[in-house]
Symmetry: C2
Subunit: 334 residues, 2 copies
């Protein structure tokens, strides 16, 4: 099979031996595989694949057709449309996935949408509901609202009856993020101060000098990193939860433990990739049960910015790294 | 009524008007009232009483006899032995408490024990079970194991089938803390490093040069503060929880968010005093149901270091501030 391959910090497309499904596993003929920030880190040697995943084939998510069943696998039949998070190896013509990690593809989704769904929606759902326990009526702040996890989180929270504010750095993306239902502010508007009673200006971005950030927030989803932590603590409601799942802007920050106590707050750190199979399978079951039906009813959608054929994987990586997009970059395999 | 009274940073004993129970409240004739660290802070003007509590009468807990019922109060009868956490005003001959905050005093406890129970056992139980969700078989580390909350946490965790390690700064208190069932180490032994497989030396304290801290820990109860945070992160197990409820040694610390993510860990801050009535009442119900029966069966005990009559409240405060004790300092009112 052919697969995107990491060689000395570069992405190539190379021939690999076909993988063979073991007990409980399924061989999937991949039709689409989304790119994620973790792929960029892995290409730079900063985020090696966990044991059991191909070390040199990137790709944390895939969608495709069941091609062959390993011994005892019974959740799906050959020919079924499936998708999954994987520890690595998703950006290839074939991939082996444990059947407990696979989910059915909702009929409403085409291949690029399905290939770009698992990672960001599982990450966002796990963070805001399983970790931070967002409740209907609560107010969620998403830092980094234009990213894949950000737009997934906004949609999931809105569908659950929460109010959502999002910071978006790039001015040209703010209207698109607002279209998902978030009140959008600039990072400077966030840093400028908060109102307790919600003087937010809807979809109109806050200027640097205007203190219109409509806090306080019950849950803050942190996709940017350390620079926000102090202001997050200020903007947090009593009993609030901060869930940190991205630190691209820095990992180390000063934490005021007395403020944490006074707000009876908590800070979660989370990552999906390092989890054992049973926890990933549990996250997949939650997604099947709580989220996938919302794609059938059009309450959720997977924004796809651009697709590339597998052979153009290097160009897809360059496109992802260039940023400025809203929506997934997906490799498509016909 | 007479009551301990804060005047310009000093403790006096002064006459006050008798309080009158409102709807749903109970007038309690106080027989014993424990001292807590918060009283010391309030005396120094650093921790004012919340609205609705007497501003100048300290005391966060009390035990006594029901003297009079406010309109509609029905959980207890005149003459019942009761105890409670209060927002303030506990160190007085009379106190008014909402009936939903009151708990019955287990028959096995005398007045000083009952007067020293509510604050530390509710705080410890809320922190390690309600917040940090300690499970049987897990390993708890208590930083500051010789304090009132520390000894309560050790006993509660042991009774729930957890393994417990505790740091104790004062060498002369280590054997007493070990007698509650904890493996005791020095703060230097903790900072010196951790073993993954438990090379702990049981009740034998670790010398400063020996790296015997028997981590990793599933839950860390932090009663000391910021200086421990970095090493707590190192010593934490995957999926571990740190609960910060004391910061006497400092409040601001650097937090590595990437380490928090990699361990899928969370950090809670908590304080009981600022909570609304319904949350305090809920904590009291949990204590009644899950903890008080363990006093009847002798699985738990309230260590009392020394009692003082109300008129000697100033001496009791001096004794508390001097430290070096294991067990509660309790005002007794006959």
């Amino acid at each position: 099979m052919r697969a995107a391959t990491i060689r000395d910090g570069e992405i190539l497309v190379e021939e690999h031996p076909d993988p063979v499904p073991g007990a409980g596993e399924v061989l999937v003929r991949v039709r689409a595989a989304g790119l994620n920030g973790a792929d960029m880190m892995q290409r730079r040697g900063l985020y090696p694949a966990p044991p059991g995943s191909p070390a040199d084939i990137p790709g944390l998510e895939l969608a495709g057709v069941v091609d062959q069943l390993g011994q005892g696998a019974q959740r799906f039949a050959v020919g079924d449309r499936v998708m999954a998070i994987v520890g690595g190896g998703g950006q290839a013509e074939l991939a082996v996935v444990h059947e407990r990690q696979l989910m059915p593809v909702p009929a409403a989704l085409d291949w690029p949408e399905a290939g770009g769904l698992p990672e960001v929606f599982t990450t966002a759902h796990d963070a805001i509901f399983t970790q931070a326990e967002l409740r209907p009526g609560e107010h969620l702040l998403v830092h980094g609202g234009a990213g894949g996890v950000g737009t997934a989180a906004i949609q999931l929270a809105k569908a659950a009856g929460a109010r959502v504010t999002a910071t978006v750095r790039r001015e040209e993306l703010r209207a698109q993020v607002a279209a998902f239902g978030a009140e959008v502010i600039s990072p400077e508007g966030f840093a400028g101060g908060h109102t307790a009673r919600g003087a937010g200006s809807g979809t109109q971005p806050a200027g640097p000098g205007r203190a219109v950030c409509p806090g306080p927030f019950d849950v803050i989803l942190e996709l940017v990193g350390a620079p926000n932590l102090a202001e997050n603590m200020n903007a947090l409601a009593a009993g609030g939860r901060i869930c940190v799942i991205g630190v691209s802007a820095g990992a180390k920050a000063e934490l005021n433990l007395l403020a944490l106590m006074a707000k009876r707050a908590r800070i979660h750190g989370s990552t999906l990739r390092a989890r054992p199979l049973e926890e990933k399978a549990l996250a997949a079951r939650r997604l099947e049960h709580e989220v996938l039906p919302l794609f059938e009813s059009d309450a959720l959608r997977v924004p796809v910015a651009e697709t590339f054929p597998l052979d153009e994987a290097p160009a897809a990586y360059d496109r992802f790294a260039a940023g400025g997009k809203l929506g997934k970059i997906v490799l498509q395999i016909d």
